[in-house]
Symmetry: D2
Subunit: 365 residues, 4 copies
Amino acid sequence: MSSAWGETVKMSIFGESHGKAIGVVLDGLPAGEPIDFDAVALQMSRRAPGRDSTSTPRRESDLPQVVSGILNERTTGAPLCALIENTNTKSGDYDNLKRIPRPGHADFPAHLRYGGFNDVRGGGHFSGRLTAPLVFAGAVCRQILQRRGVVIGAHVSSVADVRDDLFDPVNVSADLLSTLSSAYFPVINENAKQKMRDKIEAARLALNSVGGVVECAVTGVEPGIGGPLFGGIEPVFSSILFGIPAVKGVEFGAGFGASALLGSENNDAYYYDGDTVKTKTNRAGGILGGISTGMPIVFRTAFKPTPSIALEQDSIDLTAKADVKLSVHGRHDPCIVPRAVPVVEAAAAVALINMINLKTGGMEV
Amino acid sequence: MSSAWGETVKMSIFGESHGKAIGVVLDGLPAGEPIDFDAVALQMSRRAPGRDSTSTPRRESDLPQVVSGILNERTTGAPLCALIENTNTKSGDYDNLKRIPRPGHADFPAHLRYGGFNDVRGGGHFSGRLTAPLVFAGAVCRQILQRRGVVIGAHVSSVADVRDDLFDPVNVSADLLSTLSSAYFPVINENAKQKMRDKIEAARLALNSVGGVVECAVTGVEPGIGGPLFGGIEPVFSSILFGIPAVKGVEFGAGFGASALLGSENNDAYYYDGDTVKTKTNRAGGILGGISTGMPIVFRTAFKPTPSIALEQDSIDLTAKADVKLSVHGRHDPCIVPRAVPVVEAAAAVALINMINLKTGGMEV
Amino acid sequence: MSSAWGETVKMSIFGESHGKAIGVVLDGLPAGEPIDFDAVALQMSRRAPGRDSTSTPRRESDLPQVVSGILNERTTGAPLCALIENTNTKSGDYDNLKRIPRPGHADFPAHLRYGGFNDVRGGGHFSGRLTAPLVFAGAVCRQILQRRGVVIGAHVSSVADVRDDLFDPVNVSADLLSTLSSAYFPVINENAKQKMRDKIEAARLALNSVGGVVECAVTGVEPGIGGPLFGGIEPVFSSILFGIPAVKGVEFGAGFGASALLGSENNDAYYYDGDTVKTKTNRAGGILGGISTGMPIVFRTAFKPTPSIALEQDSIDLTAKADVKLSVHGRHDPCIVPRAVPVVEAAAAVALINMINLKTGGMEV
Amino acid sequence: MSSAWGETVKMSIFGESHGKAIGVVLDGLPAGEPIDFDAVALQMSRRAPGRDSTSTPRRESDLPQVVSGILNERTTGAPLCALIENTNTKSGDYDNLKRIPRPGHADFPAHLRYGGFNDVRGGGHFSGRLTAPLVFAGAVCRQILQRRGVVIGAHVSSVADVRDDLFDPVNVSADLLSTLSSAYFPVINENAKQKMRDKIEAARLALNSVGGVVECAVTGVEPGIGGPLFGGIEPVFSSILFGIPAVKGVEFGAGFGASALLGSENNDAYYYDGDTVKTKTNRAGGILGGISTGMPIVFRTAFKPTPSIALEQDSIDLTAKADVKLSVHGRHDPCIVPRAVPVVEAAAAVALINMINLKTGGMEV
């Protein structure tokens, strides 16, 4: 219950937005796993800011520097630590934050939680920038999973009221997931993307912001992974997904929609496809009783609109104990959802690597 | 990642539906807390089966027997263990389960997970019956929380497409929550309840089932509880809520709805109410940056329809490796949502007691 | 950091000496493991009180009742809970404990820790009786380990200044360990046992008590189990061994003796025995860098003398805030070391099962 | 069970001896704590190599670079990460390690554990160098503890058979501990130090090494900290102490010596010193039932002799599968015990900060 997560593979995230660097330690990775750092860099670039007008103008190369745990481009089995420097910081933008909390931000409750000693510059440890180490961790873990047949991919399924097509939860392919997971602002239906861009641009021009949903799928998870109660795929995945800043909802398979169905509509009928047990539909999202069924795992994660907006809002002055007006300046994403896609995929990778049995060269890890 | 959960107060749930008993150990409770066992019994009865035609005809008194950790109706500070006997078991109903998995149930993936050695009678450890120990744990924890000003209450916010009113997230009162949390099948708008009952009865008569949503609110949580990333209220709460069987979605505050809003619509404006900082709206559900704002905590949990239905479904015979038809007989709830209300409240209580600082008579626990 | 321990196999111990029952939950056992309950009963009887004049006259059958997790004498993979009833309780003996703490006991610090609300009857949750559930847990785990070639055995290596022979750390055999681990008051050199008994009887007649040391060995642990820093065999074993009441010292291999050696004396030279790497000596106790070498694991655990003695001692009256004299009556062991042998073995079994990779019928657990 | 440790304050250590850097993340520190980095540097220098002929000639400045969690020399409450660069590496010394494991080192079991992919240069993650981040962590935690009245200090209580005086466990003063904990090679009786130095120099000249014992005391721990079974001070402290490379034994209070005592000799009699409860002796080492009594906490940690010695030893060639001779060259400590003193103190600080209740400016952490 902190910035650390995991049991068999423990992830400890550190750093503040305008500090020296942010980073992550991954403890418990199997040894001998080749890590392709070009593939890691690709994931980092998908999340990095400043790509286009849908994201903050702050530019960071976000190239991770590996401190430990890698030798000759393979994992050594010792904890892997990577740093990502903060180079492009403009702390002057944030001078008033201690006094006037931004609506929708952690400013006010964090001020109480840390007695005013937290680093508020750029949101400090609450900044969305802290998802960069998570993407790094996921980029490492997904390669290890992929070598075992698991492929993870996600897309922007909605921005405000503009919707992409949803995954076909029965037939979603590893190929589609691979394509999505190497793209910036991935969608299934390219027509949706332009409408989403328009929506984001309109919000930006209106000094406002919009939210959206990321849908993620995982193929190649063998049936029988997970467990009952708190060891299920849903609780384990959600405990990391809800750790992503701005996430306010998570649902698996039919999710909230399942609550409106009859049992006969929601149950997925079994059948044999040759020797393999499959289900004709997949409203379970590949999970029953917390355990993988062998069908694709499918879930959706809802992101609230970026709280930092230049529109004038009502806030308070904690020093004067008075109501005041506030316009949040600085550099912000009018919509974080496109950049959140690789973050959701990364969370899934870190969650999943904690639920499968890992071995190194025949040795248990 | 098992049937155990928690850090400062560890909860370990055990038992199988048709075994000798089910139960729970709570390790880490503060000492000296008076526990009112009538109040505990009330919570157990809210979840107990057999109350009316909306639930399974299986009747269990579900009176917990305290084995340890209580002396003179106060906590001793040692682990509290309670047992709930299984008295009304009809295992004959379940003979075919090992061979023909029920669609929508854990049967098939659990068979793989446990190599066929799991107890399938009544769903074994995957049974919804395992929520009884959770309700017991919550009934103990909520009393400890209530003594510190925290009140938890929930209602059936929807059954299929029938909706109750939602909580006013700004003004929801401890009184309303107290009333809801002592009622069976609690709703805010009594008119909705009869329509929900009709929906459930229709499903029952059609040998089918329906799902629904439980909305829960918590008042009296002081601002500043929780933390960033995986220590936030959302990830901690969700990791126990998704452990409740049949839960497929969880959202906080505006939740998925927030994804369709503009920043200016979703941000909650601050103002001073005397010396107290409040927000005019509460789309955050009382949580920013994973930390409590002091406003009511509000979240919704989506339950899928009971997978056990008497309607004929397509399944498979794992022995014959052939497709077969299946009608699930036995005693089942046409809708589990009314009985799930105290379970959701209990999950919130156990989650929250792990996030606040507990003391015993001036001593740290 | 509580009465719960473990990661892959979590053990949660509960109960108080004069409460209704004590017991344990084991969460994470592999499914399908046959459990021989006669073998479990044998371990329980080795620890049970009242066998002869070396132990307390309190008699308890200590037959564990399995509540969950076992079906047809095999593990189901769900949490295994077992209860051990407290039948022979004489609480009248302990009436003064809240006022006058016994020297050498937990009475005084526990009074502060729990604000006076802890159950002091028979020592409550601090009683040595709480080792019974640990022995049960170990009896289950050691069967699972034995099926994988691991054998655990221990002996009373000293009582006061009377010493048994020590294990030959290079050649200790599984046969010897099996023999020891089914005996009450096991020693290697039978001559030592009578002298130990004499020492204990002399202490008993003098209304006093004596301490001693238990030496334990484990064979069949494949090389490569464990890890660096806090994941090593020594930290993991010690964190459970020091949880046994009355333990004040733990050492592995040459232990404290190694501190007086030269490097050339303490290093164990490698050689090939056919294709197998062995060491000529085993001062490492089978552990280097926290990892098993394949040689027998050997460690010693020091027990202080039973603090409850009938001899008059100086204590205080917490109510009167005055110094007083105290003679501890009731039924106590003049030496707990013989009964502690199966407890140490059990701790080793629970520790070790958390460090190896468990599978069920080809599925990972 | 890894290189991460702790619950309320989680410590995650990373790095390899000849990698880019080593370091640590501390997650869960209270916010607003002033950290004196001169005091931190003092602790680092006490452990740093190359001070005199008792330690390895490898010189490292070991100045920690804080990456996060500190602002204006105070903790922010976010995870504190610090790096320590590896500047003075001579990897050429270690080329044969993969083929010919050093007796007494982790080389052979680590080779199996990691399938040969671990970084063997300088011992990699198994190097004693990994105690530098632990000393850093302890240097931070001890300042926070000291502000709450807790003082930790240790001394070299023996080198081979040369013994320093032991602490007076009843009257050891915070002043003595403060003096010891700012010294290099601290002893109580200065006469002992020269004899220890002679012993070490003799070993060095003989191309050999010697072991020793570190005794540590902690004053100012209020009574009532800790708990029964695995939550006791002994199991918690030992689980970190045994994580220090080369530690083979840990004992508290009279420790192994208590096993030779009568109950009347080992029990510590209570008395009132004004309003304060004290004990006349302190064979318990300040701990009963796992809980602090308010008397000084005293424990001893046994270190084996440095396994790296230039004397010829018997080893094996894993490639040729043949027995060979080996002399370990490179730069090594003839005795690590003087440098281990601050490491033991640091372990105690990190353990203790996990057992007390921390607050930040009135807010719970």
